[in-house]
């Protein structure tokens, strides 16, 4: 009570792709929307992304990828998160992701995939409505 915990988000760039315009815009936009946002920087392995999520104790992980390696990297991240006891974290993705891959990604634990041109407010609203805030002590 009193102090409300702000939503903590990790924005991550898994894989070798260095195109992070979208990731950086999301970092700023989510901060402007009142969330606490940590950005991993580019070229992170799934292990590094998950380690950062654990260390920062985040509620949301936002993955951005434009290289086409999402089918390999996204499921690996959700699996590692579960293994680290972070299965309740809301994991969302964005980038150049063909529609036909989205169903498989959802089955692998990606809650939602946001394609190019998605309004920022759509993503903010989605996070607010779907995040399960970790219980405060």
């Amino acid at each position: 009570m009193g102090l409300e915990r702000r939503i903590r988000v990790l924005v991550a760039k898994p894989g070798l792709d260095g195109h992070d315009r979208g990731a950086k815009v999301m970092v700023r936009a989510l901060r402007d929307a009142g969330m606490e946002v940590i950005y991993t920087g580019i070229r992170q392995t799934p292990e590094q992304v998950v380690e950062a999520a654990v260390q920062e104790d985040v509620d949301v992980v936002g993955l951005s990828i434009l290289s086409g390696a999402h089918m390999t990297l996204f499921p690996k991240i959700t699996r590692l998160l579960k293994e680290r006891g972070m299965g309740d974290v809301l994991v969302i993705g964005g980038g150049i992701i063909p529609e036909e891959d989205i169903l498989a990604l959802k089955q692998a634990g990606i809650a939602e995939v946001f394609g190019p041109g998605t309004p920022i407010q759509t993503i903010v609203k989605y996070i607010n409505e779907n995040v399960q805030m970790k219980k405060e002590l």
């Binding site: 070798l16 086409g68 150049i96 063909p98 190019p116 309004p119």
Partner: protein, 559 residues
């Protein structure tokens, strides 16, 4: 350029026009918005008159094409002599599939090749490295060894086609493979034409395919410049690129300024190596984006030519006119393409390509309409190539040189872009040059700010993006996308293992040891690279050898 008396009367006439005509119109029909700006946020006036360019001196500021300051074009006849090179960036799956695509594009009238390498190749990992898993053949073709290069250019004689290769931190080994292949084909190096991007500075700013710390990377970049100057006179040893910074969010002015500031850094580094300016500067080339704002882009290209010519002449004392030429490739802007209503992208690409041609580009890639969704399908890439051919052969814009010269608006915008870019270059100089400015995060911060401003404008509908924030339709258009064969990675890994098994391991080891030793000294590393790739040492092995010598760079994240 104008008679003073006539200018005075124009000012008077304009005042009268505002009173008698304009104000009446404005009273009845207010303008759509309080301020009009370019896509980069540069304010645009309602009307341009001779007053906007009253100080313009034709001989000094514009001159004649093929002569200083090259505002009107780098060659005397521009497209009347020879059309630009139509060069579609392509590569995916494996060397076999990419080779097929190149042959198809050449059959369809493409006039040069442009190789897209996959990310592991660009960052110095072999296709079977664990970090490469899922990335092999995704955004380009995997080239782990000379064997892949041989297959990639199978049936394509290297003396008949010029090849541009988008490769930076691993440019030395990839260029060495290309040279080794030319030798195998029996083509003398003096006849091999093309370009290696070899622009590592911008990788620290955008795109991110760096490996080593900046100083070591600069050494490799200059090794290539020096090697090409001495051995491959028809090869552009560097393509200083603004494209990726623009795509990351830079404005037109920032793109131009940061590109030329990086160009200055490479010229200085090569001069420091002891290369005489007029020996290497003619082989320095450039690469820019062409975004949506038609006149801003045309003005940018004209300003770029003039500014670079002045820098080369005045700052570096170049004497040879060809050292002053800003020759450049253009790619239409990927970030303007929309996943929504993808066929609209054909129109965007057409307008951008037209601006690139009116701006005087030497080489052009037109994006495919499906690129916000996947790598280009064959249908999409042919439409993109046909767009260039239609502009070249049907539109008539190639009939005369620099057709927009003398437009009060275009000349005024050209001046303004040059001025503002120069201010940025001076700022970069004051920070100690491009590398220092990048290490301080100056470019990165400026670009991230511009990107966020742009996004906020789109969100607030201050900028309309057709099909995205206005004129939205729910109906989906059926579109057949290219799918990279998931088996490609496995086939590539198999081939790589075969190469490793079949080659002379002792020769590889020796070549890598020599390279390692040379890396500790000051010798040009290119001859050592050549020895290594000819022994079928892999890209990853060579990169690891240099990682050991130079260390790896860890970038600070700047949001």
């Amino acid at each position: 350029m104008f008679d003073k008396q006539k200018l005075t009367s124009i000012v008077k006439e304009q005042e009268r026009w505002e009173r008698d005509t304009l104000n009446k119109t404005l009273a009845r029909f207010p303008e759509r918005q309080p301020e009009f700006t370019t896509v980069s946020g540069m304010p645009i006036q309602r009307l341009y008159t001779p007053m906007n360019v009253e100080d313009l001196d034709y001989a000094e500021d514009l001159g004649f094409p093929g002569e200083f300051p090259f505002t009107r074009g780098v060659y005397a006849t521009v497209y009347r002599g020879r059309l630009w090179t139509m060069r579609q960036y392509a590569g995916f799956g494996t060397a076999e599939e990419s080779n097929q695509r190149y042959k198809y594009l050449l059959e369809q009238g493409q006039t040069g090749l442009s190789v897209a390498f996959d990310l592991p190749t660009q960052i110095g990992y072999d296709s079977d490295h664990s970090i490469a898993s899922g990335e092999v053949g995704r955004v380009g073709v995997p080239v782990s060894s000379l064997r892949d290069m041989e297959i990639l250019f199978d049936g394509i004689p290297l003396d008949k086609v010029s090849t541009s290769m988008t490769i930076n931190s691993t440019a030395p080994q990839v260029l060495a493979m290309y040279i080794a292949l030319a030798e195998k084909q029996g083509v003398p190096l003096s006849k091999v034409a093309g370009t290696v991007q070899n622009d590592i500075l911008k990788e620290y700013v955008a795109r991110g395919t760096y490996i080593y710390p900046p100083e070591a990377s600069m050494r490799l970049a200059v090794d290539i410049i020096e090697y090409c100057q001495k051995n491959a006179p028809r090869f552009n040893a560097i393509s200083v690129s603004g494209y990726h910074m623009r795509e990351a969010g830079a404005t037109a002015v920032q793109e131009l300024a940061f590109t030329l500031a990086n160009g200055i850094a490479y010229v200085e580094a090569a001069m420091k190596r002891g290369l005489p300016i007029d020996d290497f500067a003619p082989r320095v080339s450039f690469f820019f984006a062409c975004h949506n704002d038609f006149f801003e882009e045309i003005a940018k290209f004209r300003a770029a030519r003039r500014l670079w010519a002045k820098i080369m002449k005045e700052r570096f004392g170049a004497k040879d006119l060809s050292s002053m030429l800003l020759r450049y490739h253009v790619q239409t802007s990927g970030c303007t393409l929309t996943a929504q209503q993808p066929y609209n992208n054909i129109v965007r690409v057409t307008m951008q390509a037209l601006a690139a041609v009116l701006g005087g580009a030497q080489s052009l890639h037109t994006n495919s309409f499906d690129e916000a969704l996947a790598l280009p399908s064959e249908t999409a890439v042919i439409t993109a190539l046909r767009t260039q051919q239609i502009i070249a052969h049907e539109s008539g814009v190639t009939n005369t040189v620099d057709p927009l010269c003398g437009s009060f608006f275009v000349e005024s915008l050209t001046n303004k872009i040059e001025e503002e870019a120069m201010e940025y270059i001076q700022k970069v100089d004051a920070m100690g040059g491009a590398m220092a400015a990048i290490q301080r995060g100056f470019y990165q911060k400026q670009i991230a700010d511009s990107a966020y401003e742009y996004q906020k404008d789109v969100e607030g509908k201050e900028r309309i993006v057709v099909g995205v924030n206005e004129f939205i339709t729910e109906a989906k258009v059926p579109i057949k996308l290219l799918k990279v064969d998931p088996e490609a990675e496995r086939r590539q890994v198999e081939r790589l293992r075969r190469v490793r098994a079949e080659r002379d391991g002792k020769k590889v080891k020796e070549a890598l040891e020599k390279l390692r030793k040379a890396a500790d000294g000051n010798d040009n590393l290119m001859p050592f690279m050549l020895k290594a790739v000819k022994a079928y040492a892999t890209n990853g092995e060579i990169s690891d050898t240099l990682r050991e010598a130079f260390g790896e760079y860890k970038a600070e994240t700047i949001v």
